[in-house]
């Protein structure tokens, strides 16, 4: 496990991947683009979890596996742990990261100063576009979590809640 790659390289690769899928491959069908990006994340998460659980014994229950994702797995990927973990003890977990690394540099247009009414709709679509692209970028980490958990034997569905950037919460729902 000695090989390293530059972080800027990975960041730029992520940006280009999302941009390629959204603007070139599936420009008319954003749901398909999202699904492809999530599938790529699934593969990556699958393989990464294989690598990072090499020395460890099997996990005794779902909570242990989720705690592994929050602490060791996230630390290997992003050099920090998940900041907050909540559960309803019935198969739903919320992993909250207060400063998700791939979102720290995203910033939107500051609102224009002109009060032209006809420009109002374009200002709105710029913000909508920003929200859309942000959610596209988050499909990849959702896929990673889903891939890692399914490799540990826990099939689940992962979605993300972005009410306040750069904090984001991943909601993991384990299939009974």
């Amino acid at each position: 496990m000695g090989r390293e790659v530059s972080e800027s390289c990975v960041d730029n690769l992520m940006i280009e991947m999302v941009s390629a899928y959204c603007n070139r491959f599936y420009s008319t069908k954003p749901e398909l683009a999202a699904r492809r990006i999530e599938a790529i994340g699934y593969q990556v998460g699958h393989q990464l979890s294989e690598r990072y659980t090499m020395e460890r014994p099997r996990f005794s229950d779902h909570l242990e596996a989720i705690k592994f994702i929050c602490k060791d797995f996230w630390a290997e990927l992003f050099k920090k742990q998940i900041d907050n973990l909540k559960t309803n003890h019935r198969g739903t977990f919320v992993l909250q990261d207060n400063r998700f690394q791939w979102l720290t540099r995203m910033s939107i247009d500051p609102s224009p100063a002109n009060a032209d009414l006809s420009q109002d709709s374009s200002g709105e679509t710029a913000e909508n576009r920003a929200v859309q692209i942000t959610s596209m970028h988050l499909y990849f980490p959702c896929g990673i979590i889903r891939g890692a958990l399914s490799n540990l034997g826990i099939p689940c569905a992962v979605s993300v809640d972005t009410s306040n950037l750069p904090a984001c919460s991943f909601v993991v729902r384990i299939k009974a």
Partner: protein, 169 residues
Amino acid sequence: MQFFGGSEISPAPSAPTGSGNNAHMMYIFNRNGVCLLYREWNRPLRTLNAQQDHKLMFGLLFSLKSFTAKMDPTSVEKGNLGVPQLPGQGCSFHSFRTNTYKLSFMESPSGIKIILVTHPKTGDLQEPLKYVYNLYVEYVVKNPLYVPGTPIRCDLFNTALDQYARSLA
């Protein structure tokens, strides 16, 4: 002789205060002359409209760079004029100073030109300009929502830049 006294005719501006409004304005251009960013913090006099102002600034710096390279008495060979060079290589123009302001300039190897206009008593600004270039890379180049070659509209970059400009002595 009174002619060279000058203190009654054009009084020098007040010394930079610690409150940090030392920086007057900043321009960032890319290799093709597109003005990526223009920020002003303190500019009472505006003689041209924005377009002409940017074109004049870019043209001036292009000519100055070319002039300084041509008139370099120490260079051994004629370098490739007009091409951005690595820092330290060739002859690079740094700043000019008048009695009311100082204009500092830095060009990166990718052709990004950063211009900062400050109070005349400011020291050498090459390190601060390098820091601004770092901010540009972090918050603009790595921003997924930014399209290269277009004017910069990134909130995080503007905030970081304002904060840094205020801290310049």
